[in-house]
């Protein structure tokens, strides 16, 4: 049995640029904005970093392949830099690489940085890859968009649980309204406007039954983390730092899309990754023990279903919890307290790190208007791909020694 990552690695600095339609900035500028903040936060010199992991998902529309855009932009001193990509889990993958490297003793101080510059395509939504989606896939797979692939969860979920689609749509609207309310308080969010449930319900459809406000934005952004071992953090004089409690990943094996056993109503991978993460972090009852979380709310229905996959809400019980306000800022387990993908948009390579950044700020009591009262453990979750084949990642971080 693997011993796990719990309490072995400390996060000593984090940074996050302002997300949005950053017409003013290229991917390089966004990275530097996040990186400078993290260096100042960690109070270290750039050259103390001895390894880096760099995440982008769609580099063909901004920086291009390899980790060179990272090492060159940040002028890193000829250290090993690795580019990682695993759909929407890319940012968490970069964090995982850096964390494991310091835990393994391969690095003293490692950087994880993610960036995506999505707003240089000339049109809304994620890029349409056409035949670049894969030479065989192009020849038969429907021309699915992200909202279209996730939208299908809604009718399948409603069918599975015998839910009136109108009730589901209302709960989805509440999911988005809650995030908009949170994002309005965040100066780094892209969308900073509270939106009512009724407005959300009445918005134009994007992919039935998802309307405009059921979808997260498309934004530019970058976020990063600097990590070292707990021992080294203590040596360096950090006090009350944040440490990693769990890092888990689960990938589909083709069962969902190819075998009759799955009903398109939930994420097999998230459920498995969550169980492993709770075991790794020593969490027995996540509904009580997790203080706050940032889940992958690419679409409102994704977030709603994820509550159940994370074993916070019981199966079929997410609608009730949502409507009870359980995930609201003043609820039992605040979710997307920074506004989520809903308000930050989803610069893919950066998102996992952006989520960790909010958990980190909250644990340090630095979340200003959004600050929760004495959070202990924060969970982040990414879901890359499509409901029927995906990459789920989960990270749990918390105050060290508390």
């Amino acid at each position: 049995m693997a011993t796990g990552i719990k309490d072995r690695v400390a996060i000593i600095g984090m940074g996050c640029c302002r997300f949005g339609e950053r017409w003013d900035a290229g991917a390089e500028n966004l990275m530097v904005e996040a990186f400078e903040e993290a260096l100042q936060d960690a109070k270290i010199e750039k050259n103390q970093i001895d390894a880096a992991w760099f995440s982008t998902c769609m580099p063909e529309i901004h920086l291009g392949q390899s980790a060179l855009p990272c090492s060159i932009t940040l002028r890193l001193p000829n250290i090993p830099v690795t580019r990682v990509e695993n759909y929407c889990a890319s940012g968490t993958e970069a964090f995982r690489g850096a964390t494991y490297a310091v835990a393994a003793g391969a690095s003293d101080i490692a950087l994880a940085i993610g960036v995506e510059k999505l707003k240089d395509t000339g049109y809304g939504g994620l890029p349409n890859p056409g035949s670049n989606a894969g030479s065989q896939r192009w020849l038969w797979s429907p021309a699915m968009t992200a909202p279209g692939s996730f939208a299908q969860l809604a009718p399948a979920y409603a069918n599975k649980h015998g839910v009136d689609p109108k009730d589901l749509k209302r709960a989805m609207a509440h999911v988005s309204a809650k995030s908009h309310a949170n994002g309005a308080k965040n100066p780094k969010a892209h969308l900073r406007r509270a939106v009512s449930e009724d407005t959300i319900m009445a918005a134009p459809l994007i992919a039935a039954p998802l309307g405009l406000f059921d979808c997260c934005g498309v934004s530019d952004g970058s976020a990063c983390a600097i990590v070292t071992t707990v021992e080294k953090a203590k040596e360096m004089g950090y006090k009350d730092f944040v440490s990693v409690k769990a890092l888990q990943l689960s990938l589909s094996n083709g069962t969902e899309v190819g075998h009759d056993s799955w009903d398109f109503d939930h994420f097999i991978t998230t459920e498995i990754a969550a169980k492993r993460a709770y075991a790794e972090a020593g969490v027995k009852n996540p509904r009580d023990e997790i203080s706050m979380m940032e889940v992958h709310d690419c679409f409102s229905i994704t977030e709603l279903v994820t509550y159940e996959d994370l074993q916070i809400s019981p199966r079929g019980g997410a609608i009730k919890d949502v409507m009870d306000g359980f995930y609201d800022a003043d609820g039992g387990l605040p979710c997307q307290i920074d506004g989520g993908l809903k308000c930050f948009g989803h610069p893919i390579g950066a998102s996992g790190l952006r989520m960790l950044y909010e958990m980190y700020l909250q644990l340090h009591g630095r979340a200003e208007d959004r600050q929760l009262s004495d959070p202990k453990l924060g969970l982040t979750h990414n879901l890359g791909g499509m409901p029927f084949m995906n990459v789920a990642s989960i990270a749990i971080i918390g105050k060290h020694g508390v």
């Binding site: 399948a156 039935a208 190819g258």
Partner: protein, 484 residues
């Protein structure tokens, strides 16, 4: 005995009300009202001569052992490829054995009867056992033209053989005359046509009587011996005039103008099947084409027609109709109206021909796998079984899904996805008996979709690579409504 052993047909579901054309364009071309009766069959945006040929062929081989087919002849003037064996694409889509002759017959509206004659020759010579003959056309006419009123889309399919013959071949008579009522230059989209009065008088009025008389003389029959005379003709009045002059006016087969329109090279066979479906043993039916001459063929219906397994044929295909009156939508579906498609539509569209060949059974024939260890059907066929309780290596045999029925597990109507028919509807299809696929849906409206709704699979166009002149096809699901 040699003759027809099976028939099938396909008429696209969408029927444009001809008055919709007049209402949009009558201000410009008032004369088109003369032919604005009824409705015309028109392809969905993802249908063409090839996809209709596959649909008609599938209807035709209902209940047949596909392994018996040893040739596929495809007649059309609007095949998607000038040089790629279109009949061979039908072979692949039908998942016939590759050891067949596949030939395209084209260049004239006689292409359908020409293919049929070639098939009859081959079977009579004893060289072939069963030949699938399919004719299909999707012709374009410019907006507000008489030919836009006349043309319809459709396909018909016959099997020619010597066992279980339902209509015995009794003889044929052909003439070839370089009579150019219309022509379409290579690389031209539209026909160029001469004056209708000349086509009527010197075309139909001369050539149809010539071949019918020739056929009667050759077979030693009189017109009184004939039950039905099938020939396409744009002018209903001239059909009656020819019938009157030759003494068979009550036996003239309906040209289906009000319910379908003229389906090009397919039309003689579409009309013939329409008559076969209403025939009785002993009926003698003449089928003649019209296109720079004519081929006339005589068939006598046999007792075996009663034993033919049920299929749609022309009548069933005509009954599956969805009236439409949106002329602009019709123009858009036929790519006759240039709309802004947005930057999103500029994505690359190249086809990897290596992949298309390597996975040809999967991509053209919807052939997946079935695990010989655990029995799980799956799509695509893969080196390791998808069943999580099995995962056997190299255990799968071919498994056809095209004729499987299924139902919708999940769906959406996507307005972001690039489509000429938004919202782009797709979802997960669960096949009865096992296996599933993420599939495009077609011939449906998003508001009619529901989880659990039954679907059938159909071969349709997925994309057109305009830079390279390639057409990409795959199978889509047609959600079944109570009406459909």
């Amino acid at each position: 005995m040699v003759g027809i052993t099976a028939y099938g047909a396909y008429i696209p579901q969408q029927r444009l009300e001809r008055m919709a054309i007049f209402q949009s364009m009558g201000w410009f071309a008032p004369a088109i009202i003369q032919f604005a009766q009824g409705e015309k069959a028109t392809c969905n945006w993802d249908e063409d001569a090839f996809t209709m040929a596959v649909a008609a062929s599938r209807d035709c081989v209902t209940g047949l052992d596909k392994g018996q087919i040893d040739a596929v002849y495809l007649g059309s003037t609007t095949l998607p490829f000038a040089d790629r064996q279109n009949a061979g694409m039908v072979v692949a889509a039908m998942n016939f054995k590759p050891e067949v002759v596949a030939s395209d017959y084209t260049g004239s509206l006689k292409a359908g009867t020409g293919a049929l004659l070639a098939a009859l020759d081959a079977v009579r010579a004893g060289d072939k056992r069963s030949v699938l003959v399919t004719a299909s056309d999707r012709r374009e006419a410019k907006s507000a033209y008489l030919y836009e009123m006349w043309f319809g889309d459709g396909a018909a399919s016959l099997v020619v053989g010597s066992d279980n013959v339902i209509a015995e071949f009794k003889g044929s008579y052909s003439v070839s005359r370089d009579f150019i009522d219309h022509y379409r230059g290579a690389d031209h989209k539209y026909d160029y046509t001469w004056e209708e009065r000349w086509i009527r008088d010197q075309g139909y009025g001369q050539i149809i009587p010539e071949v019918i008389n020739g056929l009667l003389a050759k077979t030693g029959l009189k017109i009184e011996d004939i039950s039905k005379v099938v020939f396409p003709c744009l002018f209903k009045a001239e059909m009656r005039n020819i019938g009157k002059r030759m003494g068979f006016v009550e036996k003239v087969s309906d040209n289906l103008h009000e319910v379908c329109g003229e389906t090009g090279a397919a039309h003689p066979l579409v009309m013939f099947i329409n008559e076969l479906q209403d025939s009785k043993p002993g009926d003698k039916i003449i089928v003649a084409s019209f296109g720079q001459g004519s081929d006339a063929l005589l068939f006598e219906v046999t007792d075996a027609i009663a034993d033919l397994p049920p299929r749609k044929g022309t009548r069933g295909a005509l009954a599956n109709r969805k009236p439409v009156n949106n002329y602009q939508k019709y123009l858009k579906f036929r790519d006759l109206l240039e709309t802004e498609m947005g930057i999103r539509a500029e994505a690359p569209t190249q086809t990897a021909l290596t992949v298309l060949y390597r996975d040809n059974k999967m991509l053209m024939g919807l052939v997946g796998g079935k695990c010989t260890k655990c029995g799980t059907p799956q799509f695509p066929k893969s080196p390791i079984c998808v069943n999580p309780d099995c995962n056997a290596f190299h255990s799968q045999e071919d498994h056809e899904f095209a004729d499987s029925t299924g139902y919708i597990k999940a769906f959406t109507g996507d307005l972001l996805s690039v489509s000429v028919s938004p919202p782009n509807c797709y979802g997960m299809v669960q096949f009865e008996g096992g296996g599933r696929i993420m599939a495009d849906f077609t011939d449906c409206e998003v508001g009619e979709l529901s989880v659990g709704q039954p679907v059938v699979m159909t071969m349709r166009k997925r994309y057109e690579d305009r830079d390279r002149g390639f057409h990409g096809y795959f199978w889509k699901a047609i959600p079944q409504t109570a009406q459909g």
